[in-house]
Symmetry: C2
């Protein structure tokens, strides 16, 4: 009894048909060119890392989502894993940069593009295999580096003509200052920040409940809840945090980045969003999110994570970076227009068995001339071959029977207009290219 | 006690520095364009497949090399695997084509490019993560399809200007005919073919021993050993196999492909090589190998594997295809010349804190004009910034102090000649592009 094999790709992963590959390649080429134009240099790491390279970096929730690879050979039976698929491009990138630090300039701008894997519950725009496109700057503490990251990411969205988005900016220092000024005990600060980060989704009423549940000193939850709902929260915070050195530094940082970015940003606005927290533990300064207005979701995010590289390198260095979520961007672009897989320009028919060598010679001459061309492999009658040429959306079909061969001619049939004309055999490449 | 982390990529995998990524991207772009010019359309499948999609396809030796992925969550403790990294692009491609057969034309030419993973012992030019570039033609039984596969692969080697190679061609039918004509029992044929396939490496004396060890009827090993060493083996076999229908069909197939390919091949010769067997079980007709003469190794291989798609689809169809080994090709090309990571054309210096906004505006104007440009992030004195510009191999540095700002000028410093001249601020993009 043979069971019917499951032909679908594994849950959360996808197959891509030619037109889908074409659209991905088109957008990836734009991302690559934009990152390069901004002075970033490409780096690649393997799909898998040693398990210990990835563990202890993403927090408990993140770590559960790592795909682990069984040991091979006799050790497979132990059920142990020694390798894991990369969860993002940041941690492998830090490992690689640490290994090659001496070969790289003091200020180093890298980009990385590739698939990452997370055993997340699949959903709309959320996959288990998905692409990230990252830029990172190592060795620059100046807020100009944060600005450069924002400009590179915004440059991509501009180049692909992505519809409405805004850049939401905050600093971990603003959040730290808030915790101090509102009297949140250090051991409760994490829980409060997580609750605040969710305000967008849960609303003010639910936020109040969550703050109450954390168990803060009397009055703290109430004061936070009152102020977080204020319409002029950015100004209110700027005033409140002026007396806290960390908080004040955060406010200054955010203002400097907004001021520097806004005049040179191709499109989109930068907005101070004091409630933005970003999940990952490792951020230390400015954090940001590119928020797509129609999609109501983030399409890019990042921030400054000074010292993260010290996990791998002896010496902590300033680092900042950001990541574009390619899948969501493609999802939005797909709603607008389809990229067609490039059709062949010329379809060379085969007159009969004896005409095969001649047809091959024709198709190869076209290809050598840079023309996308294919030769009929259906082996059917001429009418059927022309139908196959139509199905392939070819612009021209070439026909060459004994008469044409005797006269050194080729029939060039325009498959759009239906017109057909004879051209000299040795002029066929230029005739096809002229159209 | 903190132990020093291991910074190397996992055994058999590699990190790629900017100039290495640039070279890989350059060659991959050529492969993609060449396959497209030959009328092949791109398809992509995920990095992993369900374990059962891959098992039972590659033979015992191959199957041992598959990287398997542990189940997640609570099931991780079972030590069981449900997913596996793809071992090649062929089997996942057949699964995907079967799932989408109704959307594809009857004769379908696909290409696929991407990494595959094998837990092989790493060695020179042999990795555990490596790229393959495949072309396959589904639905065409004609030898023209085999020829088209050869032409597409040869087209890539021609386009990258790969040095000397030859195409070794055989047919599984020739091997089958040999087994019949020399009286090899069916149950011993596999062992004999494997021994013959190794002749290149082991030599005639050792081949004799191997044939003797297989346990063939009296005289069979001796006859095989004598004829396989003949200088005119192709002619000798053509004569010997004439009386065997399968063998004769194989000889005719090989001859037809040589005759059709040779006149239109951009470079390289096609040679009938009756000892070529190719490891994989699934080949049914023509098989081939692109052999690099300097490297003494195969850089591409493939053949006809009619019916392999029936593993996934209900109905067997004619299929043929081939695969380029990107890593070996890159290894050979790397010995010849290095691709430089593209340096930024313009490095914009920052005069002082007050000059930052101005510098950002300059660098963004350049990028919008299509110029690869970066702004100084070292924050050092001008001399140090110019040194950084040199280190990045920039062609020009831009300098703009208070004087230049007052006069709406920019100093354009040629970092090759050392010359410096003032240009109007709004002419800076064209000045940089003119050089």
């Amino acid at each position: 009894v043979s069971t019917k094999p499951n032909l679908a790709p594994p849950s959360g992963s996808r197959d891509f048909l030619p037109e889908e590959v074409a659209e991905r390649q088109r957008v990836l080429a734009i991302v690559r060119a934009t990152f390069a134009r901004h002075g970033f240099q490409p780096m690649d790491t393997p799909a898998f890392e040693r398990v210990e390279t990835l563990t202890g970096k993403y927090g408990e929730e993140g770590e559960k989502l790592i795909f682990k690879i069984l040991k091979r050979g006799e050790q497979a039976a132990t059920g142990e894993a020694d390798l894991a698929l990369r969860y993002d491009l940041t941690v492998p990138g830090m490992r690689m940069i640490a290994a090659n630090r001496h070969k790289l300039p003091r200020v180093f701008k890298r980009y990385a593009m590739g698939p990452v894997w997370r055993a997340d519950r699949p959903g709309k725009g959320r996959f288990r295999e998905f692409w990230q496109c990252d830029v990172d700057i190592l060795g620059a503490a100046s807020h100009l580096a944060d600005v450069e990251v924002l400009l590179a990411l915004a440059g991509v969205l501009d180049a692909v003509d992505f519809p409405g988005f805004e850049i939401r900016l905050n600093s971990r220092k603003v959040l730290a200052g808030m915790m101090t000024r509102y009297g949140v005990p250090a051991e409760r600060a994490g829980a409060v920040v997580i609750a605040i980060d969710k305000l967008d989704k849960i609303g003010m009423a639910k936020l109040g409940e969550e703050l109450d549940a954390i168990g803060l000193p009397p009055g703290v939850a109430t004061a936070l809840h009152r102020d977080l709902g204020a319409a002029d929260l950015p100004d209110l915070l700027a005033e409140r945090l002026a007396a806290d050195p960390v908080g004040a530094a955060g406010i200054a940082e955010v203002r400097a980045i907004v001021a520097a970015t806004q005049p040179v940003l191709p499109r989109g606005a930068v907005r101070f969003e004091p409630l933005l927290a970003r999940g990952l533990d490792y951020y230390t300064g400015a954090i940001f999110e590119f928020f797509a207005l129609d999609l109501r979701a983030a399409i890019a995010g990042g921030g400054r994570y000074d010292g993260l590289n010290a996990m791998f390198a002896g010496k902590p260095e300033p680092v900042c970076g950001g990541s574009l979520g390619l899948e969501r961007i493609l999802m939005v672009l797909a709603e607008r227009a389809k990229t067609e897989a490039e059709p062949p320009l010329v379809y060379v028919t085969v007159w009969d068995q004896d005409g095969r060598a001649d047809a091959l010679s024709l198709v190869q001459d076209l290809r050598r001339g840079g023309v996308m061309a294919e030769v009929d492999l259906t082996g059917g009658a001429l009418g059927r071959q022309l139908q196959a040429a139509h199905d392939r959306k070819a612009r021209f079909a070439l026909i060459r029977g004994p008469d044409e061969r005797a006269k050194d001619l080729v029939q060039l049939k325009d498959l759009v207009s239906g017109e057909q004309r004879a051209v000299a055999r040795d002029a066929v490449v230029s005739a096809a290219m002229r159209g």
